[in-house]
Assembly symmetry: C2
Homo-oligomer: 586 residues x 2
């Protein structure tokens, strides 16, 4: 088996480098959620393809840590691989540091690839390791070990027009420089690719579903340097950057330049260990300010969201009108309907691709929260039960993220009850009014209160920020059960996506993307509220109307009226008929 | 003026001790909320009598920091005192460390009394001070400086019967020793007086409204030492402690003994700096486990709560029946009705005193959240508007805390609207169902959601734990807007007390004490709910019934039925008539 040979090769490398183990997380040098193929080292060494997991190889053992989403998949994929599955967050599972402390003798060296290891994670590992076991950073050795390793992508970088981004690159740099002065620091290095894309108003296609490009951005008080493979820049773009006094250097040159700096701001959560080791001074460690700046959408970005939501809504209505008759014909599968949805979206202006892998989860697959149909798992979609469809698109002027739970035929009373409970929570969160300074955790119960009364719950977050033609997940704010100390501010986007998952049976999730907007000013301060950006009918068939309160019914009718008014001018007669029915008052 | 002379004396002491400043917080060696008169040094030096504040005296300046609750009072009390008022938490106000850094030359020494300074606060101050300014701990010098300083109280300590505390002293020690073993530490020093009272099952009367006694408790794996003035122990109690192998030593001997320990657990938030300075080893710093153990009430404690709530409810009904006719006669003031309420409570079995200073706030006084009538502020109570009455009692078997907002005559429609909004929040929080692991911050919005929709808010917490014949405020859990990472557990008491305060006009607050109890067990886990412990009618007159939802009306009627059923057997005919009307269905 390939994996066994790879482990053997890696052990040979360990031996030549006097190391007793190597820890391989799923991150790349930019600590993002998605990783270019070039850096899918953990997948290559273990064969495990899930998005989250860490492989550890010692001279004698091999183990892979992943979370409950992937227990079944990892069990299958690791069979006969030589890797032991370590089920994260179970009480009996040791942490990586604990396990290494137990299997390695004192005096051992644990190797990491400095570039592909977040500094924060390196510090955590160091704390967990027993005395006498040390960590050593190496330069990525996998070019030699990995036959046919994919190259880093060379796709061209493109400019986001000012009409979509609203604020120019130079203007953003000036705002960041003011923050540097306030913190009394001379430079900041940005490693997170979406932060670099936002500051520079550039986009790329290096990472699946995320319009970012591989680079580092060093912003000093007087100069700005973009570290990027020059083949990715057109002559026009190069000239443009030169006109803006932006220095372009080779991607790898960043380490040399860092070693010369006297003062630097780093975000330990998004900076890799190799950056830290290149420094001659101690950096100021603090959350990057970009996530917050980026999260507040300006007028043009909000307009872009409205426009892309309109187009997305049109595509979704066309899809939904098509769906039930197609399913009744009996030839559809999870993958075929995903493809069909993509086709409808492709017809729309400014469409650039999906914003994450479509979750088209039929029946019992709906209960697997992060399910994504593949050739191996794909099942037929029948005219009964629920289809959970969580999808989104990248448009040049905005990013979308929407979930609908669509009844394809007969539903049980329990399905209707659960759908209505989730819908009530979805509506009530959207109706929230709250003072400036309120964090998502304080609002979270509005979405959960009704299912909690039934002793039910969902274990994912209720909401996350959405980028403006950027990543579909962005912070710093979230709406979730555990504490995330970032207040909601006017201009932030955030999803509203409660759900309910009954293992082996079905899943329900309803999701719109919302915008935080001002509500009222009173003697008690400024209050905020939400506006629904998503334009798409919410299926009324499963609703137990008698369970809805007056304000919930009013909201649903008013939302549907808006959906109808906004979308119908762009639809043909049959589509309008379908939409009229779908948005009719209850 | 006395204060100026005191400052002069203190400056003389600074000079002789080569210090340039002294920081005097309102805490005592036990870091509690209330302080025996002996340790009211900040009040003595500044003349400011509020519960929270820190005085700082330098060789040239004097300033006092306090929060917004006390801005008006402090302005008046500090007039001509030589103290500058520093309004805490305003953006323009420096912290104590920042201010000292600006007024003191490099090389200065800042004095603190190690015993009367929480270690955690000392560390915070040290971080704020610029380089070159150091902190030095001194032994309390105020015995010499303060003429007629009150002595430490010598009142006798008494035993809480096992029928009320449920778990014996030795049993509690064993549980704590298990925790010590788990943490691999040999000793823990308890400094918080309510923690010592809880562990020892002893009570005292050293602190106003709090049945605690001044002491330290050192629990080792093999021995336990109580450091307390021996005059406070009866011979019987001494024998009893001896039989339990508890060593009793002088209060001040703790420092000598600490210097001999090799291993110690300290809670930095409740331990004073002098303790830290007595040690020869670094302690393990971690929250004391006692707050959590104490917060989970056992069967006997819960029964005690039920019994004391019954008696408290009887007293309150008698008081409420008396109130309106008395007010109509025209001779009542805030102080006279506070006294009357106390008289009704005194008639009850096991009554030992009030659990905090009664807030009888009439009219515009109701808008001052921490108002407490004094001879200077006392006003007549007239047959119109709202009386906000927040009060509680210490019974041998439980502690009570209740607020009612009582209409004494004509109300405006706005008063009724606000009362109804607060009541809705009060009811909805009480109706919450939530999974194990939920923290108060997640529930808080249930109490605020309706007033937030009107752009209104209250800035205090929504709920706190209540001790079992102990402090009326206890942790670790709370229900409030900011994050308090302590989950609610079955057996915890917690108040439910939303409010609304309109400056210069009136205040509204409705408060019951609740008990966390199991709700249901499902495939999603264990769920919790609340039971109302407090038994007292909630005034229906101000309710705008059409604003209540069906579940809110049902709850109120059912609660009132319970109140009637439980209290009426103990009331006379006229009182029963009054209660029947007060608890009639809406």
């Amino acid at each position: 088996m390939d994996i066994l040979k790879r482990i053997e090769k890696l052990r040979h490398w360990l031996g030549s480098n006097h190391a007793e183990a190597i820890v391989i997380p799923s991150t790349d040098p930019h600590c993002g959620e998605y990783v270019p193929d070039h850096w899918k080292i953990r997948e290559w060494i273990s064969g495990f393809t899930g998005s989250a997991g860490t492989a550890v190889v010692t001279t004698k053992d091999a183990a892979l840590w992943t979370d409950s989403r992937y227990f079944i998949q990892a069990t299958e994929q690791l069979r006969n691989s030589g890797f032991l599955l370590m089920k994260e967050n179970l009480p009996e599972t040791p942490t990586i540091g604990e396990w290494l402390s137990s299997v390695l003798p004192t005096g051992s060296k644990v190797a990491i690839c400095g570039e592909m290891f977040a500094h924060q994670e390196r510090e955590k590992l160091a704390k967990e390791l027993k005395k006498g076991i040390s960590i050593k950073s190496f330069v990525d050795p996998f070019n030699d070990l990995w036959d046919n390793r994919p190259d880093l992508p060379l796709d061209k970088i493109y400019k986001q027009p000012i009409k979509y981004v609203g604020i120019g690159f130079i203007e953003k740099l000036n705002a960041i420089r003011e923050l540097l002065k306030k913190e009394q620091v001379d430079n900041i290095l940005l490693c997170a690719l979406d932060e670099i894309a936002w500051v520079t108003n550039l986009r790329g296609s290096d990472v699946h579903c995320n319009p970012v490009f591989v680079s580092y951005l060093l912003i000093g008080l007087d100069s700005t340097t973009l570290y990027v493979n020059s083949q990715k820049l057109s002559e026009e773009l190069l000239n443009d950057l030169e006109n803006k006094n932006i220095i372009c250097k080779n991607y790898k040159d960043v380490f040399k330049d860092l070693s010369k700096l006297d003062s630097l701001w780093l975000d330990p959560s998004s900076t890799n260990q190799a950056v830290y080791e290149a420094l001659k001074v101690s950096p100021i460690e603090k959350k990057s300010p970009i996530a917050f700046l980026k999260s507040i959408k300006n007028k043009q970005e909000i307009e872009g969201f409205h426009q892309s939501m309109l187009r997305d809504g049109i595509a979704l209505v066309k899809f939904m009108k098509w769906l039930r008759p197609a399913v009744e014909k009996g030839n559809e599968t999870e993958l075929s309907i995903s493809k069909k949805l993509e086709e409808f979206r492709k017809e729309q202006e400014n469409y650039l691709g999906i914003s994450f892998d479509t979750i088209a989860a039929y029946g019992f697959h709906g209960a697997i929260v992060h399910y994504e149909p593949t050739n191996e798992t794909n099942i037929a979609v029948k005219p009964e039960g629920f289809l959970l469809l969580d999808s989104g698109a990248q448009y040049l002027d905005g990013t979308t993220d929407i979930t609908r739970t669509i009844p394809l035929g007969a539903l049980t009373p329990e399905m209707k009850l659960n759908y209505t409970l989730v819908l009530k929570g979805f509506i009530q969160l959207g109706l929230a009014k709250f003072p400036e300074g309120t964090c998502g955790t304080q609002l979270d119960i509005l979405a959960r209160q009704f299912i909690w009364k039934e002793g039910k719950n969902y274990l994912h977050g209720t909401g996350h920020g959405v980028g403006s033609h950027l990543c579909v997940h962005e912070g710093p704010h979230q709406i979730r059960m555990n504490n995330v100390p970032a207040a909601l501010k006017a201009g932030m986007t955030v999803t509203d996506e409660p759900g309910l998952y009954l293992e082996g049976r079905y899943g329900i999730r309803i999701e719109n993307t919302l915008l935080v907007i001002p509500y009222i000013e009173t003697e008690f301060g400024s209050y905020l509220q939400f506006e629904h950006l998503t334009l798409c009918p919410i299926d009324k068939e499963p609703i137990l109307i008698e369970m809805l309160s007056r304000d919930e019914i009013e909201w649903l009718n008013s939302y549907h009226q808006t959906v109808y008014e906004k979308l119908s001018p762009y639809l043909c007669k049959e589509e309008i008929e379908w939409l009229k029915e779908a948005t009719k008052k209850i």
